[in-house]
């Protein structure tokens, strides 16, 4: 019986190690695979990296001459995300401060559950709402020519990244030691002064990390921007201009490009670009949190 135990013990440990290795290999394999599919572009004469990054001419299927410039899409991604962040960051931080400091405990649990529900809404439902509800509101109440535009996309992205910002910011505020609060209150500070002068500076690492992770979520969003931003290739000059994002570009053209053509490889290269950007954002957030722990 003891032999059987020892054998099964070894077997199970082997299984666990195998799972550990293969899971991490799978997960890292995404990056390797995506890079490998884009790798042939290095030797491709029709493709120039400078054109890719700095030209807005995107004509992958042209009958005249093909161009693969994604500058307009890069501008689209960053403009939508930055506009969304200008709306989401103040609201998110304010909501987190309210939940953490000013809210009585019973309503707080309910409100936190509501914020979690907001996080659970699938992006295709947001895209549907953007297509049918908010675009019509934009056309009716503003001077926009068309309802599916930068503003529409930014509104949706703001609502989608708010839950992340709120919950992470609230965690960061809660992590500030109680001694800080007690000391401030003992000196006669109001809760407002406590928040503004003591808590926000003390929790700034966690707050910055929260904002960065919300930013990462917004950059990587696909379906909502595909349905709600108008998908037009140009550099946006006003918030009412339709734009195209990198993610929507891939989603719209991926199935059409026959495997291993230049078009297909350029789409994978766009994927690599997205991967690197979100990886950098998440990595920075992680490092900021780590630096906080080692003062």
């Amino acid at each position: 019986m003891r032999r059987w135990h020892q054998l099964s013990e070894v077997a199970i440990e082997a299984l666990i190690r195998l799972c550990g290795f293969s899971a991490t290999i799978f997960v890292l394999g995404i990056f390797v695979f995506v890079c490998r599919e884009a790798w042939p572009l290095w030797h491709n004469d029709a493709f120039h990296l400078s054109e890719f990054l700095f030209s807005i001419q995107w004509y992958p299927t042209s009958a005249v001459s093909k161009h693969y410039g994604v500058l307009a899409m890069i501008a689209g991604t960053f403009s939508v995300t930055l506009l969304a962040m200008t709306m989401a960051v103040p609201l998110g931080l304010g909501a987190a401060i309210y939940l953490g400091e000013f809210c009585p405990s019973r309503p707080r649990e309910i409100l936190k559950v509501l914020v979690e529900m907001l996080a659970a809404i699938p992006s295709v439902v947001w895209g549907f709402a953007g297509l049918t509800i908010t675009s019509r509101l934009i056309v009716r109440y503003t001077s926009a020519d068309v309802g599916v535009n930068l503003l529409n996309g930014a509104l949706l992205l703001a609502l989608m990244s708010l839950p992340i910002i709120v919950s992470l910011a609230e965690d960061a505020l809660r992590a500030v030691p109680d001694e800080y609060r007690e000391a401030a209150l003992a000196l006669g500070a109001t809760r407002w002064q406590l928040t503004w002068r003591v808590l926000l500076p003390a929790a700034r690492h966690g707050l910055v990390a929260a904002v960065l992770l919300g930013f990462g979520r917004a950059i990587g969003e696909t379906m909502a921007v595909l349905m709600a931003t108008g998908h037009a290739i140009h550099l946006p000059t006003s918030v009412f201009d339709p734009v195209r994002t990198l993610t929507a570009n891939i989603a719209a053209e991926l199935g059409e490009a026959p495997a291993r053509t230049t078009h297909y490889q350029v789409l994978f290269l766009t994927g690599v670009l997205l991967f690197l950007v979100t990886f950098a954002v998440n990595l920075t957030a992680g490092l900021i949190i780590r630096r906080e722990r080692r003062p």
């Binding site: 299927t61 998908h231 059409e256």
Partner: protein, 305 residues
């Protein structure tokens, strides 16, 4: 004495997995699947065909996907599907790639006709347009960018022409580029929609918009323009009669492609598509059925609008 307990959760999940795959095969004689992918223009037609055929022949289940003619052809070249729907002709380089990749030549079958209708907002006073004017609106370096250049005034006061286009995977896009723009490039900055219906929906809610889509996608809230081939020619509306008589300038064939000779089940399906039942579905969906000149039976003859 210790017991070796296998994790219950893993066991349950494993059983569930086995059960699902096993049960899937026990449901009577398994229907064979037929994979169809491609044109968004033909998507509702393909779905109507699949629905009717499924009711008629329970041994075959047809899987229908859209994505654009380009996606259908790409999947066909990989051998991942049986039938590719296309609203444009196969390009010579695609046929060559198919030959090189798979050794088979794509076979083409015409299953209907479609008129490429030009849509504007219901309140737009414009009624007719010429091919040259469309080209000036859509192409790179085109000179028409305001409604006042076309001589109309939009009620909401917005003068800029909002150009609605399709994405490059669409056969409709390729067809328009070939026949209206003479293979020149589209101008950047148009709103490139994913599906034919999205184009019409966007135009319905945007007073200054213009766009093109299959005539089957017309709804009561948008207006279809009459199109003239050259200035001086009469302008024709996109109707069944005008397409059959070759009056409407931008009409096209609806095609399906298979790699080489289709196998038995696929061949039966294609044959059914060209039968009177299949062609009646074409007419009911809003497209133009394949009719020979002497065809007097509905939907080609008596009873058409």
């Amino acid at each position: 004495m210790e017991q070796v307990a296998i994790p219950r959760r893993k066991c349950f999940v494993l059983l569930l997995l086995v059960g699902l795959t096993a049960c899937g095969h026990r449901n009577g004689p398994r229907a064979q699947t037929l994979r169809v992918r491609g044109s968004d223009t033909m998507l509702i037609l393909a779905q109507a065909w699949a629905e009717a055929y499924g009711q008629m022949n329970r041994r075959v289940a047809v899987e229908v996907s859209g994505g654009g003619s380009g996606q259908g052809i790409a999947a066909l070249l990989e051998g991942a599907i049986d039938i590719a729907n296309c609203s444009r002709n196969l390009k010579p380089e695609e046929a060559a790639a198919a030959q090189a990749h798979t050794g088979k030549v794509p076979q083409e079958v015409i299953v209907g006709y479609d008129a490429l209708a030009v849509f504007v907002h219901r309140d737009n006073p414009l009624e007719e347009i010429s091919i040259a004017q469309l080209a000036e609106i859509y192409r790179v370096g085109g000179r028409l960018s305001r409604w006042s250049d076309l001589g109309v005034r939009i009620p909401a006061g917005r003068n800029r022409i909002v150009v609605v286009n399709r994405q490059s995977s669409s056969g409709t896009y390729e067809f328009f580029r070939e026949h209206v723009l003479a293979n020149r490039d589209f101008a950047l900055g148009s709103l490139d929609m994913n599906g034919s219906k999205e184009v019409v929906d966007l135009i319905a809610s945007t007073p200054g918009a213009i766009g093109y889509s299959g005539m089957a996608f017309a709804t009561p809230v948008v207006k279809m323009l009459r199109v003239r081939r050259k200035s001086g020619d009469p302008a024709f509306a996109p109707t069944l009669a005008n397409v059959l008589a070759h009056h409407y300038p931008i009409s096209r064939s609806l095609l399906i492609y298979t790699l080489g000779e289709p196998r038995a089940m696929v061949g039966e399906y294609i044959h059914w598509l060209q039968s009177p039942t299949g062609q009646q579905i074409v007419a009911d969906s809003g497209y133009v059925p394949v009719c020979s000149g002497k065809d007097l039976a509905p939907p080609c003859g008596a009873g058409t609008n």
